[in-house]
């Protein structure tokens, strides 16, 4: 059997991290949202009820990105797995899981609409801005958002593994400087109205592509960092 697939199987030896915990978070956060909606007094239930609890799993994926590297990479070295194989196996596994969740979110969105917002006129999965698009774009957006969070965690963990706290500090400061530079650029050129218009005009597809580009950057950066990392 291919060693990349074996890495994925190694990550799944303990089924909680990749499979169990995300499902528990999804089910628990959704049920809690329903409970809160049910407890609301009738006066507060007028109109649509919004909830952001669908994000809960996504934030767990940030932690999972960190964990899948820091816990497992040193062990994979002892298993005589090359860095490249570890990288492909781990990212491949997560991409598969993220695709599963993206499809699940889309399906839950359909259920939400069909049941009149779970009977509460609520919006949890089929958020108006996203749900107005076709299936492929919705799934792409969820997928990219999940992969992005995972990649941020994974990349930060590779930087820490290779350069320790100094590396993370420099990366953090560098990121802040770039952000500040962009803000300065917009301010000095009096370009804020255009920037605002650009964001307002951004469609889900456009945003997915921009975030997807970020994912690719982080994935490339993680690989180059990991290639020369030692445990």
């Amino acid at each position: 059997m291919n060693r990349v697939v074996k890495v994925a199987r190694m990550q799944l030896i303990n089924k909680w991290s990749f499979l169990g915990i995300p499902m528990v978070i999804l089910v628990a956060s959704t049920l809690m949202t329903f409970a809160i909606w049910a407890l609301l007094p009738a006066s507060a239930r007028e109109g649509t009820l919004y909830s952001g609890s669908g994000q809960a799993v996504m934030w767990y994926f940030l932690a999972l990105g960190i964990q899948s590297l820091t816990f497992t990479f040193p062990f994979s070295q002892a298993m005589s797995v090359s860095r490249r194989t570890f990288y492909l196996g781990t990212l491949g596994l997560f991409a598969t899981i993220a695709m599963g969740y993206a499809i699940l979110y889309y399906l839950l969105g359909l259920v939400e609409k069909a049941t009149g917002g779970w009977g509460f006129n609520g919006q949890l999965f089929a958020l108006g801005w996203i749900a107005g698009n076709n299936a492929a774009i919705q799934i792409l957006f969820y997928f990219v958002a999940m992969v992005l969070l995972f990649m941020i965690g994974f990349w930060a963990a590779t930087v820490y593994m290779r350069w320790k706290a100094t590396g993370l500090l420099i990366a953090g400061i560098g990121f802040a400087v770039v952000l500040l530079g962009l803000v300065a650029l917009a301010t000095l050129n009096d370009a804020w109205p255009q920037v605002g218009a650009w964001f307002a005009a951004m469609q889900v597809l456009g945003l997915s592509i921009v975030l997807g580009g970020l994912c690719v950057l982080l994935a490339g950066g993680s690989y180059l960092t990991l290639r020369r990392a030692t445990t």
Binding site: I13, N14, F75, M79, S80, V81
Partner: protein, 307 residues
């Protein structure tokens, strides 16, 4: 066509520089397949650095490592033939020993589950407790079991006995020899408990301050130095012109460790002088050589003297 197959491990001018020190200083070695090598040296001598580079886990600053003729770095085909468990090996936080063994069974083609089960019993290893919660000795046992049951063509143990009690250590040595005789492979064992493993070793490599100061067949090494004990003056006369590794004296008595291969004539001469010739245990030999090397800039002298 090559006349002889490439050595199991070949190290050429390997250098590793950390910010403040030379961990490895132009190390060259050639290790044959299917022998047991001892990599001996003090703490910080460069043992772990050398082992992690030759298993593709670390990078050299200069030089080259070839495993069966191929660079192991990022080379899955070659890596699959090597098993190196670090002394400070980290395991996934949520793993128990059973899960670590299941992972090892995935990656090592020759994995022997029966041997693993037997070793688990021998070491009385709790397999359902998280590895994080194991004692130092139990943690070492996890590494030893993976290293042995993996039956990798090249198996590297980095001070595998840390925290193991005397009984467990003996079990490890016995099982290792037993399994090695049934399934020969290249074993590199780093240690500073030299006497304990002396009988296991077929070849000894001593490293000090990043340099190889001894690289010698164990049998030939055992006959390469002797302690001469007796009257101080007679000892002095006998050892004239020989390389002295160590000197002890008590009153008119002297005991001098010399480096020499003694023939029958020389032994007869010593007997006539009333001197006692005794073999030097491997540990003594390594300690004396290391200390002697520190007073001489390079260990070449010793290497030359052995020939």
């Amino acid at each position: 066509m090559e006349a002889t197959p490439a050595p199991a491990i070949e190290v050429r001018n390997l250098t590793k520089t950390y910010r403040e020190a030379n961990a490895l200083d132009s190390v060259s070695l050639s290790l044959e397949a299917n022998r047991i090598y001892g990599l001996l040296g003090r703490n910080g001598a460069g043992k772990t650095t050398l082992m992690s580079i030759l298993s593709g886990q670390g990078f050299p600053t200069g030089g080259q490592v070839l495993i069966h003729g191929k660079d192991p770095y990022e080379n899955d085909g070659t890596l699959a033939r090597i098993c190196f468990i670090r002394e400070s090996q980290r395991y996934p936080d949520d793993f128990n020993a059973r899960q670590a063994f299941r992972a090892a069974a995935l990656f090592f083609a020759n994995w022997d589950q029966e041997l693993a089960e037997r070793l688990i019993e021998d070491f009385a290893l709790p397999t359902k407790r998280r590895i994080k919660k194991l004692s130092r000795g139990q943690l070492s046992a996890v590494g030893v079991i993976i290293g042995m049951a993996a039956r990798a063509e090249i198996t590297v143990f980095d001070e595998p006995y840390l925290g193991l009690d005397a009984v467990a250590r003996q079990i490890f040595y016995d099982r290792l020899v037993e399994d090695y005789s049934l399934h020969p492979r290249t074993i590199v064992l780093s240690s500073h408990l030299i006497d304990e493993i002396a009988n296991l070793l077929e070849h000894v490599v001593v490293i000090d301050k990043g340099r190889i100061i001894l690289d010698e067949d164990a049998d030939s090494l055992r006959g390469s130095a002797f302690a001469v004990t007796g009257n101080q003056e007679k000892v002095a006369a006998f050892i004239e012109g020989r390389r002295v590794l160590h000197r002890d004296s008590l009153g008119s008595l002297a005991s001098v460790t010399i480096q020499a291969r003694l023939g029958a004539t020389e032994r007869a001469m010593a007997a006539e002088l009333g001197l006692e010739i005794s073999p030097v245990p491997l540990q003594q030999l390594v300690v004396r050589t290391t200390m002697a090397a520190q007073t001489e800039p390079r260990g070449d002298h010793y290497q030359e003297a052995l020939k």
